[in-house]
C-alpha cells in the first residue's frame, strides 16, 4: 500500500534556517517499520535527509523520534500499526532537545545528566576473589532497568523537562536507580542524598509520559517513586519534596481529596514568604488556563472510607 510520510526538516546551513516539512510517497507492506520507510527515502528518494539509526532491532537506541506526536523507536514501530489503512504518518525529531539537522538532535545534555548521577558501581571493601554473590531475583529486577538503551524517548516527552531543563529527567534517574537497587553497591544513602536535591527525584510530576513511551519497559517514573520511598525511609524526610508528600498524605486523609491550595503552604511552611511568593506565577498560570483549584475545598461525601484506608496503611505506632 502507499503511504504519505511527512518529515519535519531543518537545515542549519540554509539561507533562512527555519524548520519545514518534506512529504514523501512510499510503498509499504504489513511488516515495514517507520525506520524502513525513512531508510528507503534516504537511499532512493532524498539523500539529504539526516537521521541516526543503526541496529534496526530496538537495541542500539539510535532512532528515537516523534512519530505522530509521540517519541518512539522508528525501528520498533510498524507502519501498519499506526496507519492501518495507509494514509499518512508524521515524523519529527525528539522533543526537549535542540535540533542539529532534520531528525538529529543534540544529545549532549542527555549524556551530561547521565554522567551527573555517578553512574558506576561503587562497592565497598576489597573485591572478592570470585563474583559477588547476589540473589538472582535482584539481578532479574535490575535487568528491568539495565534494559534501558538510553534512547532518550522518555526525555523527549517528559512534561517537567518542557518547563525546567535542569530536571535530571527520567533516563538519568532510572540509571541512578540501577545503582541504588544494586545489592553490590555501597553508596545507596549518599546517592539518595544527592538525588533528593533540587532537579532530582522530587521534581517529577508523575505524568506517566515516560512510562508510556519507553520502548523497553523500563518505567522510569516507577523507579523514581521507589527512590522517593527509599529516601524517606533513609531519614531524608525534611526535604521539600518529602514534605510535599507528607502534606499530600495529611490533606487527602483529612478531606479525601487533594487541597491544591493548601499543599504548597504545608510543603514550604506558612512563614516562608519568599517561597510562597514563588508560587504566585504558578497560581496565575493556573487561573489563566481555568485550572485554579476551588477556593473552598469540599470534603468528599464518603471521606470516612478514605480515612479508613489511611488508618489501615499507617504503620502501627
Amino acid at each position: 500500500m502507499d503511504l504519505a510520510v511527512k518529515v519535519r526538516r531543518y537545515d542549519p546551513e540554509a539561507k533562512e534556517p527555519i524548520p519545514y516539512w518534506s512529504e514523501y510517497k512510499v510503498e509499504v507492506d504489513e511488516y515495514t517499520t517507520v525506520l524502513d520507510t525513512l531508510i528507503n527515502i534516504r537511499e532512493d528518494i532524498d539523500g539529504t535527509l539526516s537521521l541516526r539509526c543503526s541496529c534496526r532491532s530496538a537495541i542500539c537506541g539510535s532512532c528515537s523520534m516523534r512519530v505522530n506526536g509521540h517519541a518512539q523507536l522508528a525501528c520498533k514501530t510498524r507502519v501498519s500499526e499506526i496507519a492501518p489503512d495507509g494514509g499518512s504518518v508524521t515524523i519529527e525529531p525528539m522533543g526537549n532537545m535542540e535540533v542539529i539537522k532534520d531528525l538529529v538532535v543534540d544529545m549532549t545534555p542527555f549524556w551530561d545528566k547521565v554522567k551527573a548521577v555517578d553512574p558506576w558501581l561503587q562497592p565497598e571493601g576489597p573485591e572478592p576473589e570470585g563474583e559477588y554473590l547476589a540473589p538472582n531475583e535482584d539481578m532479574l529486577h535490575l535487568a528491568g532497568v539495565m534494559g534501558c538503551i538510553l534512547c532518550g524517548a522518555c526525555v523527549s516527552d517528559c512534561t517537567v523537562l518542557e518547563v525546567d531543563s535542569n530536571f535530571l529527567g527520567p533516563a538519568a534517574l532510572a540509571k541512578a536507580y540501577r545503582f541504588v537497587a544494586d545489592p553490590r553497591d555501597s553508596q545507596e544513602k549518599p546517592r539518595l542524598d544527592s538525588l533528593r536535591q533540587y532537579s532530582g527525584i522530587w521534581d517529577c510530576t508523575r505524568c506517566m509520559e515516560c512510562v508510556q513511551v519507553c520502548p523497553k519497559g523500563v518505567a522510569p517514573m516507577d523507579r523514581i517513586m521507589v527512590m522517593r520511598d527509599l529516601a524517606m525511609n533513609a531519614g531524608f524526610d525534611k526535604e521539600i519534596g518529602a514534605r510535599h508528600t507528607d502534606a499530600f498524605v495529611e490533606l487527602v486523609s483529612h478531606s479525601g481529596r487533594l487541597d491544591e491550595l493548601k499543599l504548597p503552604v504545608k510543603t514550604v511552611g506558612m512563614f516562608n514568604i519568599r517561597a510562597m511568593q514563588s508560587f504566585a506565577p504558578v497560581g496565575l498560570r493556573a487561573l489563566v488556563r481555568g485550572k485554579m483549584p476551588p477556593i473552598f475545598h469540599k470534603m468528599l461525601p464518603n471521606v470516612e472510607n478514605v480515612r479508613r484506608i489511611f488508618r489501615k496503611l499507617e504503620p502501627k505506632k
Binding site: 537545515d11 542549519p12 546551513e13 504489513e30 511488516y31 517499520t33 531508510i39 534516504r42 537511499e43 532512493d44 532524498d46 539523500g47 539529504t48 539526516s50 537521521l51 541516526r52 539509526c53 543503526s54 541496529c55 534496526r56 532491532s57 530496538a58 537495541i59 542500539c60 537506541g61 539510535s62 520498533k76 510498524r78 542539529i100 539537522k101 532534520d102 538529529v104 544529545m107 549524556w111 547521565v114 554522567k115 553512574p119 558506576w120 558501581l121 562497592p123 573485591e127 570470585g130 563474583e131 559477588y132 554473590l133 547476589a134 540473589p135 538472582n136 539481578m139 532479574l140 535490575l142 535487568a143 539495565m146 534494559g147 538503551i149 538510553l150 544494586d182 553490590r184
Partner: protein, 559 residues
C-alpha cells in the same frame, strides 16, 4: 593540538576494554567512535560470553578443545589456549565492574548451553548480554579520565616512514577534519557485515578499520571465513539468538521433522554454526523449507521461560513479524553474521606495522579460525582488547611523538572529501552500489561457494569500485551529513569485499565456513595454513602463514 599516547578507534567492547586498560597503565588515552559508545554494535550480542570456570567443574582445556574443533583446526592453538585460560578472570572482572549476570540458586553466576560446546559455559544477562556489558564498560569510561570523541569518523590513518602516528577524522556534527596525533593506534572498529546483504549486523558495521589497516599495508588474514548464522529473519536478516536453541528450541522443516537428526545426531540443533547453516541450506534447496525458510520452534519452552530468558526475541517476533513466539514457530534462514578474519595481529594486538594495533571483530589473532563458536566473540573482544590496551600503553612510554605537518595533512584530507562533495549527479547512488555489492557477495560468497560464482563476484566488485570513483553525494552540507558518511563507508567496504573474494578464491578446499561445491573436502595436506592478503599498488597480494598446533592434531569434525 589533539594528542594522545594511545588512541583507540571504536568504542564497542574491544575498544572500551582497550582504552580502560591503557588509562589504567597511566597512558594518556583517547577513544574515538563514529557513534555514541552505547550505540556500538556490541550491544546486539544477545546470547552470552564463554568462560570455563574451574569452580563449576569446567576446565579451560575443554573450552580450548571445543574452540579448536569449532575452528575446523584453522585457529592458532596457542592463542586459543591463552584466551581460554584468562576467560574466567576477564568474566569476573566484568562482574566486578557491575555487569548484572544472571545467577544460579546460590547467587553465583549462572550458565546456559551454546552451540558447538559440550558443556554449558555461556554466562549471560537475559538475552541482552552484549548491551548489559557494553553499558557497564561505558559507565567505567565515564568514570575514567579518557578523552572521548563521540560521533567522529576516522577517515585515514596517518603514516610517516612506515609508522602510524595518528588518525585523520571528521567530526560528523560540523564536517570538520582534525588530525589526532597518537604514539599508538588501536583499531577496534568491529566487523564488516554490511558488505553482505542481508546481514544480521547493524547499519554501521562497515569494516572501516579492516580497510584502513589494509590501505596502510597491514596484512589481513582468514578473510575468506565468513560466518552465516543459522537463525535469521528472512528479508531484514535480524538475528534470533542461538540462546533460543541453547534453551532447547527445535529446528523443523515443512513436515515438522527435526531435520538436524540426520546431519548432527549427537549435538542436533547445537552443532557448530557452519554445520547447522549448511544443513538448513540443503533442506531448503531440496524443497523441505517453507518459502525459503525453516522453522525455529520455541513453543514447548513455555511462556515463562521465554519471557524471562528470551524476552528480546519475544519482542522481535511481535514487533517485526507480528507473531507470538510462545504460540507460533519463527521462520528462519541462514544469514551473514560474523567475520572470522581480519587484521592480522599477535596475542598483544600488535600488527606488522609499528604503531598499529587491532582487537575485537576487526582483528584476526586467530582464535576463531574457520568458524567461531557462539559466545566466543565477546570473550575475544575483552581478552584481546585488554591485552592490546596494556601493550600499546607500555610501548607508548618509550616512544616520542614525531613532528607532523598537521596543516598539510588536514588540508589534503579536506581536499579529498571536498572532491567527493563536489561531484555532479550522474544518476548513480551510493545505496545502489552497496546493494549490488551486498547481493553479489551473498549470492557467491555465502554458505556454498564455487570458482565461477566467486570469480563473478570479484568482477562485480571491481566494476563497482569504478562506479564508486564518480558516485555523487546528494547532501552538500557540512552539518551532520550522513550521506557523506555512507559514501566513505562504501569505499571502505569495497576494499573488504575484494579482500574476501580474493582470499576465498585462493582456498581450494572446504573448511569451516568456507564450503566449496567444487572442492567439497577438507585438505590438510595443502591448506592447513592461513591465507594472508596485502594491498599493493599492483593489487591484492596473497601469502601464507602456518597454523600453530600445540596439543590437538586435526581430525575429522563430527557433531
Amino acid at each position: 593540538m589533539l594528542e594522545h599516547d594511545v588512541l583507540v578507534v571504536g568504542a564497542g567492547l574491544a575498544g572500551m576494554r582497550a582504552a580502560l586498560a591503557a588509562t589504567e597503565m597511566g597512558a594518556n588515552t583517547g577513544i574515538i567512535s563514529k557513534v555514541y559508545p552505547v550505540r556500538s554494535h556490541s550491544n546486539a550480542a544477545q546470547g552470552g560470553i564463554n568462560a570455563a570456570l574451574v569452580d563449576r567443574g569446567d576446565a579451560w582445556e575443554e573450552h580450548a578443545y571445543d574452540t579448536v574443533k569449532g575452528s575446523d583446526y584453522l585457529g592458532d592453538q596457542d592463542s586459543i589456549e591463552l584466551m581460554c585460560q584468562v576467560a574466567g578472570e576477564e568474566l569476573i572482572s566484568l562482574e566486578h565492574m557491575g555487569v548484572i549476570f544472571n545467577r544460579d540458586d546460590e547467587g553465583r553466576l549462572g550458565t546456559r548451553a551454546f552451540g558447538g560446546q559440550r558443556r554449558a559455559r555461556t554466562f549471560f544477562v537475559a538475552d541482552f548480554t552484549g548491551q548489559a556489558i557494553l553499558h557497564v564498560l561505558y559507565e567505567q569510561l565515564l568514570k575514567s579520565e579518557i578523552t572521548s570523541y563521540e560521533e567522529w569518523f576516522v577517515t585515514s590513518l596517518v603514516m610517516q616512514e612506515g609508522k602510524c602516528c595518528g588518525v585523520l577524522a571528521m567530526e560528523i556534527r560540523t564536517g570538520r577534519v582534525y588530525l589526532i596525533k597518537a604514539k599508538t593506534v588501536i583499531l577496534c572498529t568491529g566487523g564488516l557485515g554490511r558488505v553482505f546483504e542481508p546481514s544480521t549486523n547493524a547499519l554501521i558495521v562497515t569494516g572501516d578499520g579492516i580497510a584502513l589497516a589494509y590501505r596502510a599495508g597491514v596484512p589481513l588474514m582468514d578473510m575468506e571465513m565468513v560466518q552465516y548464522h543459522p537463525t535469521t529473519l528472512k528479508g531484514s536478516g535480524v538475528l534470533i539468538t542461538e540462546g533460543a536453541r541453547g534453551e532447547g528450541a527445535y529446528l523443523l522443516n515443512k513436515d515438522g521433522e527435526r531435520f538436524m537428526e540426520r546431519y548432527a545426531p549427537s549435538m542436533m540443533e547445537l552443532a557448530s554454526r557452519d554445520v547447522v547453516s549448511r544443513s538448513e541450506t540443503i533442506e531448503i534447496a531440496e524443497g523441505n523449507g517453507i518459502n525459503g525458510s525453516v522453522l525455529l520452534d520455541c513453543r514447548h519452552l513455555g511462556e515463562q521461560l521465554i519471557k524471562e530468558k528470551l524476552s528480546q526475541i519475544y519482542d522481535i517476533g511481535l514487533d517485526l513479524l507480528g507473531i507470538d513466539i510462545t504460540q507460533e514457530p519463527i521462520p528462519v534462514q541462514p544469514g551473514m553474521h560474523y567475520q572470522m578474519g581480519g587484521i592480522k595481529t599477535d596475542v598483544d594486538g600488535l600488527t606488522s606495522v609499528p604503531g598499529i594495533y587491532a582487537a575485537g571483530e576487526c582483528a584476526c589473532v586467530s582464535v576463531h579460525g574457520g568458524n567461531r563458536l557462539g559466545a566466543n566473540s565477546l570473550l575475544d573482544t575483552v581478552v584481546f582488547g585488554h591485552r592490546a590496551g596494556n601493550h600499546a600503553a607500555e610501548v607508548s612510554k618509550g616512544t616520542t611523538q614525531e613532528p607532523l605537518d598537521v596543516e598539510e595533512l588536514v588540508g589534503q584530507e579536506e581536499k579529498r572529501l571536498a572532491e567527493i562533495l563536489s561531484r555532479d549527479a550522474n544518476g548513480d547512488r551510493v545505496a545502489r552500489i552497496r546493494l549490488d555489492m551486498g547481493t553479489a557477495m551473498n549470492a557467491h560468497l555465502g554458505v556454498y561457494r564455487d570458482q565461477n560464482g566467486m570469480k563473478e563476484a570479484l568482477d562485480t566488485i571491481q566494476q563497482l569500485k569504478e562506479r564508486y570513483t564518480t558516485v555523487p553525494v546528494e547532501d552538500k552540507g557540512r552539518t551532520f551529513n550522513t550521506d557523506m558518511v555512507f559514501d566513505l563507508e562504501l569505499g571502505l567496504m569495497l576494499d573488504c569485499a575484494e579482500a574476501i573474494a580474493v582470499s576465498a578464491l585462493e582456498r581450494k578446499e572446504s573448511r569451516g565456513a568456507h564450503s566449496r561445491t567444487d572442492f567439497p573436502e577438507r585438505n590438510d595436506a595443502d591448506w592447513l595454513k592461513h591465507i594472508l592478503v596485502t594491498s599493493t599498488p599492483e593489487g591484492p597480494k596473497i601469502s601464507y602463514s602456518p597454523v600453530v598446533i600445540t596439543q590437538w592434531t586435526p581430525e575429522e569434525r563430527k557433531y
